[in-house]
Symmetry: C2
Subunit: 631 residues, 2 copies
């Protein structure tokens, strides 16, 4: 049998040492969520837990050396992800303080703001990230809070002009945060320069609201009871001019606005782009929580017996085909996302530690992070729900943790950008790249061009490009009986689907240019098609990351097992989208049926490895925290 240790090594990736450190250190900290606590007590407890994290070095890793950190973004993000294995309230609280608030100060601010960072690291200064408003979430450009420059006093006046401009759902705003990074429209000399970020003190040392600031409490939520989400209203709150986080734009004493980036749109997206770590962390944390849920449900399925099967003995749940169908493809998908996440974190780390990151690569990173966050959190919702149901009544008891994992991760699908918005953002990026190439072509040459070149645009985005291409080139002909198990065949099905979906979406949207007065309708009618561009792009990226991850795995037995897991991911994903493949003549009805046959064969083949596979996730049994599991 394959050693779970070898699998874990493959999944742990580059920041394995951080994972190992966290596994040991966090397990000693008593982090399990306690449902018996009141909201106030749960929040205080999480704040105390946060303090315990400071000495681990994870918080400092997120900041540059010159600012008092240790400059290891990969470690910072991996550390957050590991917190998600233990308690998601703590993960969010840490993410808000060090990732979002600290990240805004470091990435949008300059030297004068960076002086705060040591206090941010050691929790001497608690902050919050006041972006979302009651009226605007994913559409950050339309935020309404204003910061109007008053040259008389050289101050910005921060104000909430409407009820919908109230800052809302802000982690830390209900009680703990003393300072807020506030996103507001910068107005100076009568001109609105769009959304910028400002440091605004909101509470005094007694925890009371400062003059002009009114905070309130969001109260109970679907989960995350340890996070004090709240609301903030500003009534003409004055802050010094220097509180503008002025890396990308500044206002001088006279109120003159200046920015190194000419276009307001480009400036806005550059600023937002520096905050990419938030989405990387949310996606990774959703995956970590899913791995915990599948570890619990997988182990339970191996101990629980129900209904008589062979020879008068009750059957272990995992021996049922239906149970295998419910859990194993989800486990395979979690493997796939872990490889993709590791790849994403490595890229992010590289770009964020380069002195001059390439803007094109930065944009690709943002798009990848947005898309993976959407797909990982969607998987989390589906997989944790299935894990809970697969454990029956026991799964509904809080002591078995699954309902808490579900409730806590539930918000991930809509925060840090609504998933549907994010996938359209990914699609926009793909379609823009496509449009760039086809601009100026008449419709006929466009079609011809499409047939020849979309392939290249798609492939440009490939990670381990050469390996993938080799596999695709070496794929067997469609006539082979088990060719669907061939990685090249799977990769080419994914790639071909992506090409076709992009090409046809572009053609539909093209019409909007011809009929500008109907452009909203044309976009709107194609919205599900556009969403699919994002989905299938990410699915390909994930399959390629899995493929590359297998190639890097050094243990031959583990590699062998991973190959089957990867095929299960690929084929069950194709199975879910079978209708598309048939409608577009990519699979005949016979081959479509064969997909299901191969999935079932893989389930049977992987069934004996269930325990090994969940052990591969690297969640120590002692930290699963599910009362029903034999220990």
């Amino acid at each position: 049998m394959t050693s779970p240790e070898a699998l874990r090594r493959a999944l742990d990736g580059k920041w394995r040492h951080v994972r190992e450190q966290s596994r040991a250190e966090l397990a000693a900290m008593d982090l399990a969520y306690d449902h018996a606590l009141s909201l106030d007590d749960a929040r205080s407890r999480v704040l105390e837990q946060l303090k315990q994290l400071v000495p681990t070095g994870i918080p400092a890793a997120g900041f540059r050396r010159e600012n008092g950190g240790t400059g290891d973004p990969g470690m910072a993000v991996t550390g957050i992800e590991m917190l998600a294995q233990f308690d998601l309230s703590l993960m969010v609280k840490a993410g808000v303080q060090w990732g979002l608030f600290g990240g805004a100060i470091e990435n949008l601010g300059t030297e004068r703001h960076h002086a705060m960072i040591p206090d941010i690291i050691d929790l001497g200064l608690l902050g919050c990230f006041a972006m979302t408003e009651t009226g605007h979430g994913s559409d950050v450009q339309s935020l309404e809070t204003t910061a109007t420059f008053d040259p008389a006093t050289e101050e910005f006046v921060v104000h909430s002009p409407t009820p919908s401009s109230r800052k809302d759902y802000i982690g830390g705003a209900a009680s703990h945060a003393r300072v807020a990074a506030v996103f507001a429209r910068l107005i100076t000399l009568g001109k609105d320069h769009g959304v910028h970020c400002f440091v605004v003190p909101i509470r005094d040392e007694n925890g009371d609201d400062l003059p002009g600031v009114t905070t309130s409490d969001c109260g109970h939520k679907g989960g995350l009871g340890g996070v004090d989400n709240g609301r903030i209203l500003f009534d003409h709150v004055r802050i010094p001019r220097e509180n503008l986080l002025n890396r990308y734009a500044d206002v001088d004493e006279l109120g003159t606005y200046s920015s190194p980036i000419e276009s307001p749109g480009a400036r806005f997206f550059t600023m937002i782009g520096t905050l990419v770590r938030g989405r990387v962390s949310v996606g990774g944390s959703a995956s970590a929580a899913t791995e915990v849920a599948l570890s619990i449900a997988g182990r339970y399925a191996l101990q629980r017996r129900q209904f008589e099967g062979r020879e008068g003995e009750e059957t272990v749940l995992m021996d049922y085909r239906l149970h295998q169908r419910r859990l194993l493809p989800l486990i395979a998908t979690s493997y796939a996302f872990r490889f993709a996440q590791n790849q994403l974190v490595a890229r992010m780390h590289r770009l964020q530690t380069e002195p001059e990151p390439d803007p094109q690569q930065q944009r690709e990173l943002e798009s990848r992070a947005a898309g993976l966050k959407a797909m990982q959190t969607e998987h989390a919702t589906r997989a944790i729900q299935e894990a809970r149901e697969a454990c029956g009544g026991a799964g509904y008891m809080a002591e078995n943790r699954l309902t808490t994992l579900k409730a806590d991760t539930d918000v991930f699908t809509t925060f840090e950008g609504d998933n549907h918005v994010l996938l359209q953002l990914v699609a926009k990026e793909m379609l823009t790249a496509y449009a760039k190439e086809v601009t100026g072509l008449d419709p006929l040459s466009m079609v011809r061009f499409a047939a020849e070149s979309v392939a290249d645009i798609v492939k440009e985005r490939t990670a381990a490009g050469a390996l993938i291409q080799r596999l695709i080139d070496a794929r067997p002909g469609g006539g082979d009986e088990h060719d669907l198990l061939d990685r090249g065949t799977q990769l080419s099905l994914f790639e071909d689907r992506e090409q076709h979906v992009i090409e046809t979406a572009a053609r539909r949207l093209q019409r909007a240019r011809q009929e500008p007065e109907r452009s909203f309708e044309i976009f709107n009618e194609a919205q599900d098609h556009v969403l699919k561009v994002g989905q299938v792009h990410i699915e390909r990226v994930v399959l390629e990351a899995f493929t590359a991850g297998i190639a890097r795995c050094e243990d031959p037995e583990a590699q062998e097992l991973l190959r089957d897991v990867c095929s299960l991911y690929a084929l069950s994903s194709i199975e879910r989208d079978k209708a598309w493949f048939m409608e577009h003549n990519r699979l005949s009805t016979e081959r479509a049926k064969q997909v299901t046959v191969e999935v079932n064969a893989l389930l049977e083949k992987l069934r004996p490895h269930t325990l090994t596979l969940v052990e591969g996730f690297g969640v120590p049994p002692s930290t699963l925290n599910a009362a029903m599991l034999d220990t």
Copy 2:
């Protein structure tokens, strides 16, 4: 525009008066769940609320006149369903006391037990329904608790012989229940006669455990905070012989066992069958909660604007195609289930008020109730999740209720029978009917028979048979452009799928008879196929119920709107299962694409009716209890 009142009248069904009564009476009762309460306080509050329900007459409706009730099972079930619109803890608590505990006493007991019923109705006697054990949930026949007759004292000795025989998740067992209806293996004179039900006092008047009884608390759960679920262990607890609920089996003074039903299997299923009301109530309640969630999300989608669309104005969420795609098919499905549920309740009412119910009809009722419960609760999980996500961050706040609806209904997919088990039960019923007809045929004639007669078996089960047949016969040829919108076409697609799935499943399982030593494997490999038999059967039943409901609707405008809603249900359901229809040559790739075109056209057509449609559910805005909604 269609009047929502006319829609509501169509959906309210036969027990409209009960719905109207509940809408008024329950709204006045302050039933909204309060998250600020501790577990103990939440439970006490729900118990107090339960007392308020007694004067409504709903509790009494569930019991026969001769036992002190008013003999209106339809009213009882509808009343429970209405509770689910207000608070699900209260619904479950009421369901346990009057439906499960009271139902066991009335249906499994005889005169001497029926004397308890007036106390059960007015809550003088609080009981619980102790069926599930830690080791056995859906497999009730394998329960381990024993009730051994001791002729010396003429008592039964109730005992939990193993840790897995502990009664678990029992509503009321943690604190409120004084008496339990305990399911245990009846053993007398050394023989095990299988599972029977016994009345066992568990607490004294101070609420302390009686000698030999050890109760404990399940503590926090995923939701349903107001229900005191608990565990019970019995250590040789003695109860009088008369405490056996002896309608279907008795033991005399000497320990001699007797039963009017010869076969132990038939006896068991007859006993369990009398408890069908539990599943009917759970399915209906899941649907009611879903309607509330969709009412909230639908209304929010009509007020919330996000991202600029036409002419510089932000777009109302509901105007986005994607949002329509997310919500409208779910709303249509909820309409469909309401018609199916009304039909089920009417059947149940008829059978339960007949002096001599037909056993075949009773079996069909049980199967229908099991299948609808599975499909309704699966829909609830999916729809409430989508409703929550469709409301973004606001949807995650407890004050907007969606997360509570999700958490509370979550257990419905696995309690009162795990959905996967229930659908297999439905399939078994279908396959048995099929097998009866084909017994004795050799394989060749079987195939021939199949082609001719499966249709009849399927159709026998049809409600408004003649109408349906007329529509199917009158369907246009496949060549018509919009023929997919024809009800006859839709019905025949559903019916044909069901026939084919049953027929092929039967053929696969047939092999188990030929290779008995591989029978477990053969069944297991076909498990997802068998599950599909259950699903597609229920989907057809639901479409037919919708069709019959439209025919009964008296308002022509409402009828017209309902026709489109029904098509959206049918076509979006076909769209989800498109791959099957293509793989089995029921839809060409062109027609498959046309399904999506028609769904999109229906979305556009129904969009202006969104408010009317959610108003049709009949949840008064004042009781939606979602802070974010404009009122």
